[in-house]
Symmetry: C2
Subunit: 219 residues, 2 copies
């Protein structure tokens, strides 16, 4: 197809298509004349990926990393996907020191029996989140951690169960977009579950009788 | 205690304390002379709350809503906490139309047997998250939804189990901060669980042998 058809099929404006071509995010078409190129399914698919990654807020350099991994996967599936996921936000704040040690994250991961690897960006992300909980006076307790970890693992299992395995591109795309795009779904579902459970537990109760939790009345 | 001691104990700078007093976020001290006021535990506690809410990114007007609910709770615990939680981000984009109907969120909540109330901000938040998943080509399926919802409910149960019930202030503070502050913890734990499970499932495998999932080899 010509570039005009590519624009129509992908829904990506011509100026943006040209920009992606210049930046190397979209592979060149096959030259069909001095001024025209022919595009195919791989271009449509690549544009959809770049559009989706831009849609979840990835800066251009990070999109380039992911597209590069699709075209040239690392030696193993695990390493390839790990590198792709490292391109996701949240990014460390400007000037944040890479201390090389994240004591809160380490304690959590040791308790869970998972690898502690300070070079993974997500470990620094966990450390920041745990420090924030301490700062506001609700530090993570073992009781909460164990319950969270058990359910989060169940969520992660279904995420991996549903991973497509037909190609590197499908797998990387799913890993990156699925990680980013379902986080807000999960956050909204949690808030709605709070509401649903709270409505039952606190039905009609005022703060005056708040100190006798319903739970104690139940078997 | 004098205001200088309040500053020392709370760790909130004097200029900020004065600002919170002017804005009504901190209740006035008891006048002890024409130029001095006496502050107590309630002031220390209020400053900690305001500081924590500001720390999770709440704008001043939203903090005022929450502080107002602490001082004047609504008729029931459920209504009070519901209103406090509605002050949390994410906020609708500027100019976003309140359509009054959120078909994706409605379908999800009906499937889960939970109340669909389009006036709740979290329902619009769920709709946006579900629409984003559709846009990037990984729409929420029933299989994923059922698994997510089951585990999210387990997380929400422990959240409510651990809610303090000694006062309206404790309960509101916990609900608001716990909702906001544990979201990034859960997101980081999910990514780490992906990594942990993926390391086992994909150990040493390349994309060439990717089409034969490990799962099929297992009983």
């Amino acid at each position: 197809m010509r570039v005009s058809e590519l624009v129509a099929v992908s829904g990506v404006p011509l100026a943006t298509v040209k920009y992606y071509l210049r930046e190397g995010l979209l592979m060149p078409g096959a030259a069909s004349s001095a001024t025209q190129a022919e595009y195919g399914e791989q271009h449509v698919r690549r544009l959809a990926l770049v559009k989706a990654l831009a849609g979840v807020g990835l800066p251009l350099g990070r999109i380039r990393t992911i597209v590069g991994l699709v075209d040239h996967p690392a030696d193993t599936v695990f390493e390839t996907i790990g590198r792709a996921l490292a391109a996701l936000p949240p990014y460390p704040a400007e000037g944040e020191k890479r201390s090389g040690d994240y004591p809160r994250a380490r304690a959590v991961l040791e308790r869970l029996g998972q690898v502690y690897e300070p070079a993974y960006p997500v470990v620094a992300q966990l450390e920041r989140a745990l420090a924030a909980a301490e700062d506001v006076g609700i530090p993570m307790t073992d009781e909460r951690l164990d319950a969270y970890a058990r359910h989060v693992r169940g969520i992660a299992e279904i995420d991996l169960d549903l991973m497509p395995t037909d190609s590197a591109e499908s797998a990387i795309e799913y890993a990156v977009l699925g990680t980013a795009i379902y986080e807000p779904v999960l956050a909204a579902l949690r808030r709605l579950a709070h509401q649903d459970i709270g409505a039952a537990r606190f039905a009609g109760r005022t703060f005056d009788d708040f100190e006798t939790p319903d739970r104690q009345d139940q078997p």
